[in-house]
Symmetry: C2
Subunit: 450 residues, 2 copies
């Protein structure tokens, strides 16, 4: 196989107790409830030259089964909100990227554009926004709705939301603020552009009331894998977190997504694809398997079942735990995640209990249990086959899972020339190999806008 | 005069270039565009034992006079958004309070409640939310409106917004999260309460998806001085930033506001009143006056006039600069600020130019130019007369204005026993002498809500 002439990008996807559903019960796991826990992780990941820290998010607590909710750390209650947490980490890090998730379904584009631009400036050009839509019906109840917004409506709003945010991030040229004390000129009014957006969901004049950062604007990240999600990503995203489990699916997704970019006048390398990977690493295979089993044994049955019901979008508690996974209707929720899980159950003929045990750990993501060489082999294979431009590493428990990956797997990847020895640039955009976004030229933009 | 048996509370009100309208042009002033600038100020203020850092905010750029806007640092463009900036400062401070302004007019209460709760947890109980409504008509254009929201409508929304945020902050008891690894119980479902709010502006089920902080919830701060603003403050605020200039007005405002608390079942000491003060301090009076004049000379006429027009809510550019301030209609804007300025112009028979020169520095706030003893005398007088429980100190330029106050005035206040030698408590609430808010009892709240 011809080697790719670039290196992997790596994200450190932090979940506060670790990604394993039962991580919080493990004696070695942090509860992740203190800022110092995250400062420690950020420093580990930065010393290891990860491209970015990544935080997921939701805006509600899943209480439909209150007993199950009260028995897990994954009910939607988080010790910190991502934008504020990453802002805190901006003050104690200097090179690693900071990617926070925020929903287009229940936020306002001006406020969101401004907060991410502020994080981008606080970090001197290291911010990213992971654009998501909110499928969770219980989140909808916190924002004036009686039920979740329909999938198509969520994406229509997300399309317009992305345009408004990108437009606001182009309000000022990079050099608009001259701050010339002698002449009294603070900014150059020729380098300011109003947005004057008026659409179905939003009406926004602009400009954004914050100057640009050293990387122009935050990196736009997405994770949607539905048809609508892929189309939005092909048009606007610069980084995509993928969730495909098999090599075949990963290569197919990568090719399909990159293949759509040309339709929007974009080069394939203007978007990087980073699938999630949940690595359980041991010095021997037996040690890795023991580590994994120690976590699996901590899953409470009501929690495993509730997790599966929530993920798949259908209450499975009426079905026998040791019977087959039933045929299910398409739901309004995260359709790509539902399809992945059903395909897995059919492929391996799993019972409900077997399915939740299979997916509780990586929660539908790609799960790898092995020695450093085995893990590196699989990452290398997927990278070289163009199934990934790198990986979003989901530590099973914190901080041990991240430390294992850094101490055991990264040296192996470096020995093979697959991961950087040091950061290439000063900004997240530079490290990811993405272009600096020019503020749209005044002539082109002003004609449409002013 | 009988001495009060308590000490002053002090806020450090940071404006990025300093509060003087022309501060950014002064050779000694920071531009305040880098996080390190704020880290330095935060450390100075914390070493001096200030109760809190305070940041104002707006959500638009005032471009009605684009030439004037481009000649000042006060057009509404800020280098950072307050919640993100204070989150960054939470990571590099440990004792000082962190109070950010955010508007009820264009935010969502669930998102806002969560971000402030997150800041409160990041800082281990040092956050405050300064609740404002947005009068700026140009901000309205960024949020789907064609003009500013009417004063009465802004306050109707703010009343309901405050209730929703306070309710969400009471979603969980202080000890709801037990995280018992052995039994598998993560939180106690008996210590969770839904909000189930349904009002004219908002419908919010809850609970907030974040646990409480060591101070229960952020301190609720307000600054509105209109009738509606004072009523909302009397009902819900714990700290009020006042803007009265004269001793007489300060004492009157203080008495009126504190006098309303009983109607809401509150004690007078459950709300602290901190007027703004703009101190220009010199070792001699001549030195103080020289410092002030050096700033005054930097005010550009178009900027001074535009500042006055914006603050007063009426375009004054059609009137002679050296003629009298005309009679003006009541506007939809910040009525209390308009009334204060007009009263000043009438009282001293000022021309438009004289008025903008008088208010450009402190921008309508109380301006004190003098020696350390003179400044301390005035603060002591106002404190002992119950015109203030302390002061929100508005440095004319950064960092020099804050350093002057810390090095020259604070020793004088301490010598007189008027300000603390060290922090009394670990949280903002403890240092301000405010009660820990009990999450409402399950029986009382659940009956109404579930």
């Amino acid at each position: 196989m011809a080697r790719r002439n670039e290196r992997m990008k790596l994200g450190a996807f932090l979940y506060f107790t670790g990604h394993h559903l039962a991580a919080w019960r493990h004696p070695d796991a942090q509860q992740g409830t203190e800022l110092v826990d995250y400062v420690e992780l950020a420093r580990i990941a930065e010393a290891a030259k990860f491209d970015a820290l990544f935080l997921a998010d939701g805006v509600g607590v899943r209480l439909s089964d209150r007993e199950a909710a009260s028995r897990k750390a994954h009910s939607g209650v988080t010790p910190f909100e991502p934008i504020t947490l990453l802002s805190a980490l901006a003050a104690v890090t200097s090179r690693i990227g900071l990617v926070a998730t925020a929903s287009t379904s229940y936020s306002d584009p001006y406020n969101l554009a401004r907060q991410f631009a502020s994080l981008d400036r606080l970090s001197n050009g290291r911010a990213g926004w992971n654009l998501v839509t909110s499928a969770d019906p219980e989140a909808a109840l916190n924002f004036g709705h009686d039920a979740a917004i329909r999938h198509a409506d969520r994406y229509a709003r997300a399309e317009e939301f992305a345009d408004v945010v990108l437009g606001l991030w182009n309000s000022w040229d990079d050099d608009a603020f001259v701050r010339d004390r002698a002449s009294g000129r603070y900014f150059d009014p020729e380098k300011l552009r109003l947005l004057n957006h008026s659409g179905e969901h939003f009406k926004v004049r602009g400009p954004l009331n914050i100057p640009r950062s050293p990387q122009g604007h935050p990196v736009l990240v997405q994770a949607g894998a539905s048809q609508a999600g892929m189309e939005l990503a092909a048009r606007t995203a610069e980084l995509v977190f993928a969730a495909e489990v098999t090599l075949e699916d990963a290569v197919s997704f990568y090719a399909r997504l990159k293949g759509r970019l040309a339709a929007y006048g974009r080069r394939p390398d203007e978007l990087k694809v980073l699938p999630g990977v949940f690595p359980v690493v041991g010095r021997t295979l037996a040690e890795a398997e023991e580590k994994f089993e120690a976590l699996q044994e901590l899953i409470q049955p009501e929690v495993g079942l509730d997790f599966l019901s929530t993920t798949i979008g259908v209450d499975l508690s009426a079905y026998p735990l040791d019977g087959p996974v039933p045929d299910l209707p398409e739901t309004n929720g995260n359709r790509s995640r539902q399809a992945l899980l059903l395909a897995l159950a059919r492929r391996e003929n799993l019972t409900i209990r077997q399915l939740y045990k299979r997916v509780a750990g990586a929660r539908g993501h790609w799960q790898v249990v092995g020695t450093p060489a085995q893990v590196a082999d699989l990452l290398e294979e997927r990278f070289e086959a163009y199934g990934a431009d790198g990986f979003n590493v989901m530590s099973p428990i914190k901080p041990g899972g991240l430390v294992d990956f850094v101490e055991l797997v990264l040296p192996e990847l470096r020995r093979r020339g697959l991961f950087r020895e040091d950061y290439e640039g000063a900004t997240l955009r530079q490290n990811l190999g993405l272009d600096h976004p020019a503020a749209r030229s005044a002539s082109r933009f002003a004609a449409a806008a002013e």
